[in-house]
């Protein structure tokens, strides 16, 4: 059965696009300011946002942009929705922040609210908590966005009915460099059943690469 990308977003170069259409461009000067401004722009009310590191803020915002105003994943049982993400830098920003906090034995105060963010899968947790997603969840680390890995692995998850819906993509954030490309994957049968098949994108490495690079399918 065919798998489709039914919804996708990108956040890059201070521009937000949803399903290929730029819907917001920010004038914010820094990454911190950008994330703060997007939080306000999308009218998000989530007190824990301010405690997140930038990687998790990016993941959280990306999922919010992707899913706000739609019930696309709510149609599925929570344990049947997966989150499969990739990035290159893992949690390096906060790794270095934590390392810095223990550099001087005379000022030795490691912080749990920093340390908790020194593993990359917390970005999955933040999305899962917000959207109540309880299924298969994995973070892969690769130098660049690897659509083949997502294609092979997510297809296998669907084939064996481990997931009925999956959020997947690339969430990378280190220093000033950030990039996110997050999308919803659903099966043909479910799309027909719920909404009628529209111009969705067939899930394969080439199509993922095209959407990621902003090329037409």
């Amino acid at each position: 059965m065919e798998l489709f990308i039914t919804r996708y977003m990108k956040l890059q170069d201070h521009r937000v696009s949803l399903n290929g259409i730029v819907e917001h461009a920010s004038e914010a000067e820094s990454v911190d300011a950008l994330f703060r401004s997007l939080y306000r722009y999308y009218h998000i009310d989530y007190p824990k946002f301010s405690k997140m590191d930038n990687l998790c803020k990016l993941a959280f915002l990306s999922a919010e942009i992707l899913l706000q105003g739609t019930d696309v994943i709510q149609k599925y049982p929570a344990e049947q929705i997966g989150i499969i993400l990739e990035n290159a830098s893992s949690s390096l920003d906060y790794d270095q922040k934590h390392q810095e906090s223990i550099r001087d034995r005379n000022q030795y105060f490691p912080s749990p609210s920093v340390f908790v963010y020194t593993i990359p899968n917390i970005m999955v947790a933040e999305i899962a908590i917000r959207h109540k997603v309880k299924g298969e969840n994995t973070v892969f680390i690769s130098e660049q966005f690897d659509p083949e890995l997502i294609d092979h692995y997510v297809s296998e998850l669907f084939r064996n009915q481990r997931v009925s819906c999956c959020l997947a993509g690339w969430i990378e954030c280190y220093g000033d460099h950030y990039q996110s490309f997050l999308f919803v994957i659903e099966q043909e049968d479910n799309i027909k059943r719920f909404e009628g098949l529209q111009e969705y994108v067939i899930l394969n490495p080439l199509n993922m690469e095209k959407l990621y690079k902003g090329k037409s399918i």
């Binding site: 007190p47 301010s50 405690k51 105060f109 912080s111 749990p112 609210s113 908790v116």
Partner: protein
Amino acid sequence: MIEDLILKLKKEIVEELNVENITPEEVDTDAPIFGEEGLGLDSIDALELVVLLDKNYGIKIQASKEGRKIFRSVRTIAEYILEHQKK
């Protein structure tokens, strides 16, 4: 004396624990700070308070054993600090 400490603590809690949507002056001195009715602090915040007490006041505590009582409200924290402060 305790009032100064209470205000200082409120500033530290709001700033160092990244508490949103509230100024230090608005924090209720005697209200529970944990749980949804309080400042929405959670288990990681409790551990951060332990670090705060160590870093700013030189006091070491075990979050799991003593934390619940000490961290009940800003006032209880201030009272504990005044009792135990080394630096």
